[in-house]
């Protein structure tokens, strides 16, 4: 098993975190930043990322703006007010999750 398996289920929350901290990010940038912060363990594939971004946008949590970068286009995503709320909640959930994982590693005896 790979460490990356553990990230399943966390992707949406982490994407909201990244965009929230950064202000706005485009897809490819997200994949690179995720790889950095995870010490190479989280490689978000395009088949995962783009449908997720589209879903979050359709849910009203993200908004996007396409801007040219040289001859390329980048599609920048940022949080809507609803997305900011979701991001704040995600942050709390992740913190609680971390504490709970530590309980599993070092459990208080029942």
């Amino acid at each position: 098993m790979r460490t990356s398996e553990l990230y399943k289920g966390s992707l949406e929350s982490l994407v909201l975190q990244l965009i929230g901290k950064q202000g706005e990010m485009y897809g490819y940038e997200l994949t690179q930043r995720a790889k950095e912060l995870s010490a190479g363990n989280l490689n978000i594939t395009e088949g995962t990322l783009y449908p997720l971004l589209h879903k979050l946008e359709s849910e009203g949590k993200l908004k996007s703006v396409v801007r040219p970068y040289g001859n390329r286009t980048r599609k920048y995503y940022s949080l809507t007010p609803e997305g900011k709320h979701a991001q704040a909640q995600a942050s709390e959930r992740i913190q609680a999750f971390i504490e709970q994982l530590q309980q599993f590693l070092n459990p208080k005896l029942a």
Copy 2:
């Protein structure tokens, strides 16, 4: 979204942890212990747990013994040598995962 979403991808590692710490556990006990340690957030459903236990057994990581408890039967699972190895690796992966999650919450600027 629920906190429980975050646990997706961690179930196998956490089950190995629980059984490893405890020595041997039966299915229902696992669901209760997981709920305890996760402050109620991780409710492993039977449709998830039993197939997972069967898979881990077929992979040679768990072995089971059925023992009566009153008029009921409990199926106790414990780690094989291979399972102990997997559990040790899972422990390290979870620790690394925790550190990486913290990076996402409080990233070092790029």
